[in-house]
Amino acid sequence: MAVKVDINNNILTLYLVGDIDHHTAKEIREIADLNIDTYSPKILIIDFKEVAFMDTSGIGLVMGRYKLIKSLGGEVKIINLSPYLKRIMSLSGLSKLVKIN
């Protein structure tokens, strides 16, 4: 798993690459939270284009970042979900909290 980070005009974008499970979620979380702490972004975009596999650890990951960003007064957007990832996300009701494109 790798995370590419981009910050532009108060928008923090995390490009996730590879598999998201309980093992890799820890590393992604650390990188995400370090950058959220540093930049206090208004918008966090999480890009799933390069995600090959995800289990519910990915839902926990998004929920945790949503709480963190919300406490800073920002919002979270999720982009580039494959139909398979959408199916997993749809079980969570996350779409009521974050924008999914």
Binding site: D19, D21, H22, H23, A25, K26, R29, F53, M54, D55, T56, S57, I59, G60, L61, M63, G64, K67, Y84, I88, L91, S92
Partner: protein, 145 residues
């Protein structure tokens, strides 16, 4: 029903083995020519069950996770994921969507919901202090033996 093929694997409850477990099972069932959707469903369900054993069954200590996978005739597969961890106090409660004993807010409590929705059948048996066994079943629509 006749068993056509079978594997047994076991590994320590280290989180790096979550990917090993789901990839091993997907390699095992590949002889049935599953669709990509079927592979994704099974990998996800296995990942959930194995993660439960690692995160909840064995918590902070290390134990062994046992997987027994069988392919039956008529394209039926059965995967048993077993641990000798702490066991589940209330299985019905544990299987409720969004229920989790995790207090960090990083676990969604949707593991069993995913296993139920991605597999045909799931059975959970558990004894406090003895461990938990999750049995997953699915009949693939692909090639038949």
């Amino acid at each position: 029903m006749k068993v056509v093929n079978e594997i047994k694997i076991q590994f320590p409850s280290k989180s790096c083995n979550e990917s090993f477990a789901r990839v091993s099972i997907s390699a095992f069932i590949s002889m049935l020519d599953p669709t990509l959707d079927e592979i994704a469903d099974i990998k996800t369900a296995v990942s959930e069950a194995v993660t439960n054993s690692i995160v909840h069954g064995y918590k902070d200590k290390l134990g062994i996770v046992y997987i027994n996978a069988k392919i039956y005739d008529q394209n039926k597969i059965m995967i048993k994921i077993r641990d000798k961890g702490c066991g589940i106090e209330d299985i019905n409660k544990a299987m409720e969507p969004m229920f989790t004993t995790c207090t960090t807010g990083e676990r969604s409590g949707l593991g069993f919901a995913v296993m139920e929705s991605f597999m045909d059948k799931i059975k959970v048996s558990s004894k406090l202090g003895k461990g938990t066994t999750v049995t997953l079943q699915k009949t693939l629509r692909s090639r038949r033996f």
